[in-house]
Symmetry: D2
Subunit: 341 residues, 4 copies
Amino acid sequence: MIIAMKQHCSEEEIRGFAASLEQRGVTVHVSRGVNQTVLGLVGDSSGFESESLEAHHLVEKVVRVQEPFKRANRLFHPEDTRIVIAGPDGISRSIGEGTLTVIAGPCSVESREQITAIARDVKAAGAGFLRGGVFKPRTSPYAFQGMGCEGLDLLLAAKNETGLPVVSELMEIHQLEVFDEVDVIQIGARNMQNFNLLRELGRCGKPILLKRGLASTVTELLMAAEYIMAGGNERVILCERGIRTFETFSRNTMDIAAVPYLKQKSHLPVIVDPSHATGRACLVPAASKAAVAAGADGLIIEVHNDPENALSDGEQSLTPEIFASLMGEIRNYAGLEHKTL
Amino acid sequence: MIIAMKQHCSEEEIRGFAASLEQRGVTVHVSRGVNQTVLGLVGDSSGFESESLEAHHLVEKVVRVQEPFKRANRLFHPEDTRIVIAGPDGISRSIGEGTLTVIAGPCSVESREQITAIARDVKAAGAGFLRGGVFKPRTSPYAFQGMGCEGLDLLLAAKNETGLPVVSELMEIHQLEVFDEVDVIQIGARNMQNFNLLRELGRCGKPILLKRGLASTVTELLMAAEYIMAGGNERVILCERGIRTFETFSRNTMDIAAVPYLKQKSHLPVIVDPSHATGRACLVPAASKAAVAAGADGLIIEVHNDPENALSDGEQSLTPEIFASLMGEIRNYAGLEHKTL
Amino acid sequence: MIIAMKQHCSEEEIRGFAASLEQRGVTVHVSRGVNQTVLGLVGDSSGFESESLEAHHLVEKVVRVQEPFKRANRLFHPEDTRIVIAGPDGISRSIGEGTLTVIAGPCSVESREQITAIARDVKAAGAGFLRGGVFKPRTSPYAFQGMGCEGLDLLLAAKNETGLPVVSELMEIHQLEVFDEVDVIQIGARNMQNFNLLRELGRCGKPILLKRGLASTVTELLMAAEYIMAGGNERVILCERGIRTFETFSRNTMDIAAVPYLKQKSHLPVIVDPSHATGRACLVPAASKAAVAAGADGLIIEVHNDPENALSDGEQSLTPEIFASLMGEIRNYAGLEHKTL
Amino acid sequence: MIIAMKQHCSEEEIRGFAASLEQRGVTVHVSRGVNQTVLGLVGDSSGFESESLEAHHLVEKVVRVQEPFKRANRLFHPEDTRIVIAGPDGISRSIGEGTLTVIAGPCSVESREQITAIARDVKAAGAGFLRGGVFKPRTSPYAFQGMGCEGLDLLLAAKNETGLPVVSELMEIHQLEVFDEVDVIQIGARNMQNFNLLRELGRCGKPILLKRGLASTVTELLMAAEYIMAGGNERVILCERGIRTFETFSRNTMDIAAVPYLKQKSHLPVIVDPSHATGRACLVPAASKAAVAAGADGLIIEVHNDPENALSDGEQSLTPEIFASLMGEIRNYAGLEHKTL
């Protein structure tokens, strides 16, 4: 961290300020120029905030040279993280490093017939994981809120029938009790900065699929991962799912450049959700291929056997037929990126 | 709700589609034009989502005529809501309708001396409520996370000493147990769409100060209020606190037009947080006066007796002196808006 | 400007890099810390770009301490700029410093009757300037494009009849030939970064009302003013007119904090356009009062005698009656800010 | 266009309003429901604006069913447009339909050696067109503004030496006189809504590469193309180059989903500028591949032989070596999309 002091600062003021910083655990090196004195902080400055330091009347500007995240930082962990998950079929599946993971399934579990049929279809098409929501965050209190524990039973039945590990969204910490057989816990965009929840997830051993908040920067996403990792759980999967912008043709704006950026800054696997990012089924295939070409480690795609009558997100769900056709294309793109599906 | 059907739809298809809508509890009126058939839905369409309906292959466009919120809607509740809170000094304070409420205090409670001194200062300057955070949502797991229950005790001591009712942020539902003497529960921007939490707050009797999410529309803010109100708690105070945009000179972009818009659409009190909206102490006075001139029912302002050494948000905190001077100006503005401070 | 060098840089590399900077006209002071060397640039660094410098393989981070604008900078021109305009009635009108200027009139000049009637009405209500567009930037090539020179004649006739100086938008430089009697040239949001046009305006002697681009930062607005001022024309009026964000209830999001920020950073007058900023007549009064309370030096408000049949922007135009009533309120707010209307 | 009338409208009011619409050239069909009357407009409604109609006191909501653009609309022109350009080497090059076009070169022409060397390099790597700016839109009046006509001569010399047709940015209409030998005219993001310029370009016969404005919707981009096409010039190439959002790790946010959306809505070729969209050389390769995978008809990429000393945009320029390596990858991606490079 570099702190440019204001021009009028006296020698004594600078010494006093530097001392106050050193009391917080860093070493301060003072560089005096003709017009300006610059302080360089050596050591762990992750507890300092640029904004707070800039509130000080002696400070002109603060520049953070080091990223504020540590455990998620590729600098300190150059190798790609690979998360291994054992399915009920006895097959271990990896997420990250050399693998392209496709997670597919409906937005919400709606009935035994629905989830089982979709599970079979996505498995046949080559998906490695089954997704299905049972606790649903909905903008309106009057909209369908998910099937809850009953839906979870149906999802687990589909898991056992097909052998696909399952991904499902957790909305509050006490739901962890019933998520025992859920293989990957999804944390939705709205909970990305639910810090108490993140802290608790740091204590559970399960892989966490962490979705980027709809107005969160990628640095904030990495800091959210850091919350989980700081608690001891390093099995975090980052998920780009579109950000909110002024543009309205798509539900969100898919931030494709976030994929290579996150891969450069962090060792964690990065997957993309083209369904939420675009919000329109007709844009999902192109967005999926683009994500793979940009270096994503996986995709999470909404598939529904009857999108027109889906209880949620029908407008962005692919039919099993279109999904199967897309999987054929994705296989070729994964090959160009040296990844196996 | 109005649904424009695609041009090629047959008579039979339209009848079938209309029937499926009627099964969900609305009456459908079919209007046939030369090129296009339009359906008008009569009754409660708050459970319908435009996007889902547009997923149907027969549907061209959907227009919502009615707002999706009911209890928060001024249409069904034309009078301003007034929330009355009794302080420990025996004086009842109102929020809304004819009153300008000023809530002031530090971002975080840091010590007994700090909170007590600030409480006395803001009371002397004319503030009606004391704010102070004890559970703090922080972007970094390595930053100060608030004093917790110990801080709460200090806040309540300051309440009892000054007679000012207190506002403090709650981050998860089980903290409700220790919030018994907190007069107004603040829900932060990051929890505005923590739907499970909102639902629980609907069951508690306390006034809720609900902050707009940093990427939430005003309609989503009203829907979040609706979650709380649907549970039976109608004592909700809406708070504009700036939205995230491309502009970086201010921490957020204060959406001043949201104030008259919310007042027109809803009967709930609307307050403004100029401290978070601008993020810079030098912009807070102008932003505060603008909020009052735009019709806000109150302000929540960060005041710290030593901003340079504040443990959080020092850059946006006013000193007690500047706050007192601002209060003098605000009083005049409130007068022009026929509000008593 | 402060440049933090990468840690691995050799003494020789740093000397070479510093020398290359000095060749571009600045003095470089090298401060060596234990881990990091920092360069301080002294002199005029307005020709340097942070991004370009960060492209260099030896550079870690660049911080601009000085603002990139000079002529518009309050640092070098502490007194408020006051722009004096002589009306056809022989009365001189000031914009800036102690004055609140209200510019009112229709979006487009539509007919002699229309512009004359509105001119009389806004004058009677206390407006100091008449606005009226004759060359209109329209999103669709099929929409009404303004009356052109014919409209200009009608606008000037209204000017002469009422004595009000006029403000009208110029879209390309050759229109300057016919703008001889236009008192203030308006440059619209879409032309704020039409740099060739700005450069030409620097050579004309007329006051320029420069609107902020809908995705421009305030720094970019000041740089656009700098283009005009660098050419010799220092009579620039800055105009906040809302920025484009994700929110859709208003046409744009009015950035109220930009008013005090621009006033602090620059000596130029700052006015606000609540009509374009909100896009809805029902929000214009509150937004206007807020702008005055935030310290604006003026307002530019759309007024139409028949908004429902206006050829453009009817949805955001006030009727003369509502405008007159608003003027009564604005007078009181201006008084609180020690400004005369 | 569908207009939902307010509930209280009388029969007579509706008749009068419908008649006023018919006078503007459409046929109006009135559909009466129990609570609400809906008008359907048949015919060319491209001159109507939803916002203006909603200003009318009888109108509740307006829905546009038809897109507001016609000549750019795939509905009326189902086949892909293919733009053929003859190079100085006698070879005709196509843009659109089955071809992947790569335009490469420096941000600015800086010297004969620079542009010639880069031209040779990008040709050898397989680029089909050479880009090079000579009139540069720069945020600061103190930054390098391009070499002007002298630079144009150097660009044309490089064209003649290599046989590559050239693309260069035009900033105002009178520059057309010197653009005779420029093969494709680029219109920058800041001029996308310079309507007078667009109108003039409609009268010239040259292909126009039209960049999306940094805060423009894709519909506004198509309306800008419509301006050019309405004047008779149908040779328009659309260019996605990133939009401005809250995210700062990249210069802009590349809107990848705009590619399939534009291809679905329009028959015009769509190319992507990954250099401006990301603003960082290390993100350009991934963004380029993603664009091809998403269905883009081409790429425009900044290449510089000495990025660290480039006079502009060095931070986002690829070296010739990295560009050549990227071209190898792009060729494979183009193959998967059935496009020849």
